[in-house]
């Protein structure tokens, strides 16, 4: 029973961070209708920024949030403005070339990171990296718990932004009906740029939160890109609430899979969920809740 509870708790904690990653992806999906296959790689860039800040300026990873998030926001805006938006004007037979572009961006980001930092495994070992506390026989890893709480805080902030501010409302309007939003005077290009930046910023936060726990190497982005789109499908395309539940579900499922099936199948669990959802519940968790 303790093992089960422990599995559940660690799944839930990592699930909170997954939700953060998934929400960025789902925002981009909702507004632009494309899946961002460079999502994990953007996180990787944020992790390297955090690493560099820690090594050269001894900046705590959690404080590096304030460097990495704006940095990635700007990077995301630039990517959308100079690489993705121009594609809207290109007439081609293949409609998916924005997706393909994100793959290209992903490769370039990974290789630039490899060029600068080489393929060596790096890690940021803070004083609290391995600290744990116990609650009813179940151990909680400190950095994971802090990460979970910060992820929750960021989620609340994002919802406040989307529901209460003018810009947030514009983003939701474009996601719901682009043409109508343009007719209401929303500058949809500007919104796509901000949305991509926002998605990049959110995933950057996830990167900062993960760095005390994970090793860092250039290829770390790829599994997270996969996870992000599993979450997006699981939660229902473009549904931010869905992404939260998708993230938590994936975290718990992976954790259960790792405990009861085998560590090497951990990644496969997510993908099998992905295909199962596509077959039996197209539309994702969103369909169940009607939110």
């Amino acid at each position: 029973m303790t093992v089960f509870l422990q599995t559940l708790v660690s799944g839930l904690l990592i699930g909170g961070i997954y939700a953060l990653i998934g929400m960025g992806m789902t925002l981009i999906m909702g507004v632009m209708g494309i899946i961002n296959l460079a999502h994990g790689q953007l996180m990787m860039v944020a992790m390297y920024i955090t690493y560099a800040a820690y090594t050269f300026f001894h900046l705590d990873p959690y404080l590096a949030l304030f460097v990495a998030m704006p940095g990635l926001f700007l990077l995301g805006c630039a990517i959308q403005k100079y690489l993705l938006n121009p594609l809207m004007d290109v007439e081609t037979i293949i409609p998916q070339n924005q997706v393909l572009m994100t793959v290209g961006i992903a490769i370039v980001l990974t290789e630039i990171a490899r060029f600068i930092f080489s393929s060596t495994y790096l890690s940021v070992r803070t004083g609290y990296s391995t600290k744990v506390f116990f609650l009813g026989g179940v151990s909680f890893n400190w950095p994971m718990t802090i990460a979970f709480l910060l992820a929750v805080a960021l989620t609340v902030a994002l919802f406040w932004f989307l529901l209460k501010t003018d810009l947030g409302r514009s983003i939701r309007a474009v996601a719901q009906d682009k043409e109508a939003a343009i007719l209401m005077g929303v500058n949809s290009r500007r919104i796509t740029i901000i949305t991509y930046g926002l998605g990049a910023g959110l995933v950057a936060a996830a990167g900062c939160l993960l760095i005390p726990i994970f090793y860092l190497f250039p290829d770390i982005g790829r599994p997270f890109t996969t996870k992000a789109f599993v979450i997006t499908i699981l939660g229902g395309m473009g549904s931010t609430v869905g992404a939260i539940f998708g993230g938590l579900t994936l975290g718990i499922a992976e954790s259960l899979g790792a405990t009861y099936i085998g560590m090497s199948y951990k990644e496969m669990v997510g993908l099998i969920i992905f295909l199962t959802v596509l077959i039996f519940l197209p539309g994702g968790l969103k369909r169940l809740t009607k939110v």
Partner: protein, 338 residues
């Protein structure tokens, strides 16, 4: 028509005589790889370019074919050449499974599902060690030391694939494929069984990709999951080959294969050893930059964007103005603009 036939005959002759004229194993190797990509790029083009089902997972079929050949040789003790006959059918079976799952979805969702399916296949190949040797991979001994037999085999494969693709596209099936790409609902309302024809297109595509995979196993004599199920270097490369050449043209992917292999090798060898060494170390970076460049500026490929390229090339150097010829062509080709 007659001019085309002459061009085809000359091309065929050039390719048949190539290994006699070029004795360097290095260039023969590049030609073999390019011919293999002709097959894969063309297969992708049939499914995506003509039928409109953008697959991001052609590595599934390539890997299945390669592993079919590899497992036959490694586990059953048969010659890996049987794989050349069985790799295609194995990939078709895989294609039916993939089609069953992924064809429920349309457009970007289909593309996503194929990515996921490709990742699952890669993870299965990594984890099912008793069958695939996992990350250790499968190592065989090449049947021939010389590259010439492989060259002609690849040439035959490429020729056969081009022939089949052009025949299919001239037949009734081809028109059904294109109608599904243009508007699936309209096609269905006219009585076309969209699901059947999408699966047919996928089956042909998977067959040739799988055969190419089996050929790869025989030729390179080593595979591991990261090589044959690679998302960037197989699935994305297949897309690039088709895009750089020209999507939805028969010859586009064939031209694209030679361009892509050429560009990649140029950078891998650091511009033939002229550039400093870091250029060759960054060939993966160059691959990514090529993806971005091609989509931004050559989205319809060399064959599709030929008029655009021509306009750039015949621009008069002094004034920078386009010449009369290119202006006239530009106008006549884009009547809807403005």
């Amino acid at each position: 028509m007659k001019r085309n036939q002459i061009i085809n005959a000359v091309l065929a002759l050039v390719f048949l005589l190539f290994p006699l004229a070029v004795t360097s194993d290095y260039y023969r190797h590049l030609a073999i790889l390019a011919l293999m990509w002709v097959v894969i790029g063309g297969s992708w083009n049939l499914l995506a370019g003509y039928t409109g089902q953008i697959s991001f997972g052609h590595a599934i079929f390539f890997g299945t074919g390669a592993y079919a050949a590899g497992i036959l040789a490694d586990k059953l003790g048969l010659s890996a050449w049987w794989g050349l006959a069985l790799g295609g059918p194995a990939a078709v079976l895989m294609g039916l499974v993939i089609g069953f799952i992924c064809f429920r979805l349309r457009g970007p969702y289909f593309a996503l599902a194929t990515i996921a399916a490709g990742e699952i296949c890669r993870l299965i190949a990594v984890n099912w060690e008793s069958m695939t040797n996992g990350m250790v991979g499968i190592l065989l001994i090449q049947s021939f030391r010389s590259k010439v037999p492989y060259y002609y085999l690849a040439l035959a494969l490429a020729g056969a694939s081009l022939l089949v693709f052009s025949l299919v596209m001239k037949s009734k099936w081809g028109f059904y494929f294109v109608s599904i790409r243009e508007d699936q609902d309209a096609a269905e309302s006219l009585g076309i069984n969209a699901s059947l024809y999408k699966n047919l297109s996928l089956a042909i595509s998977a067959f040739f990709t799988g055969t190419a995979g089996a050929f790869y196993m025989n030729y390179m004599a080593f595979i591991d999951p990261e090589v044959v199920f690679s998302l960037p270097y197989i699935s994305i490369m297949a897309i690039l080959v088709a895009i750089i050449g020209g999507v939805a043209t028969i010859w586009g992917p064939a031209v694209g294969a030679f361009i892509m292999v050429g560009i990649q090798e140029t950078f891998r060898s650091a511009i033939f050893g002229l550039a400093p060494k870091w250029v060759s170390q960054s060939h993966a970076l160059v691959f990514g930059l090529i993806v971005i460049f091609v989509i931004l500026y050559l989205a319809n490929g060399v064959v599709g964007d030929w008029p655009k390229i021509k306009r750039l090339l015949v621009r008069s150097p002094k004034t920078g103005d386009a010449t009369w010829l290119s202006l006239k062509r530009g106008k006549s080709e884009r009547p809807s603009e403005g």
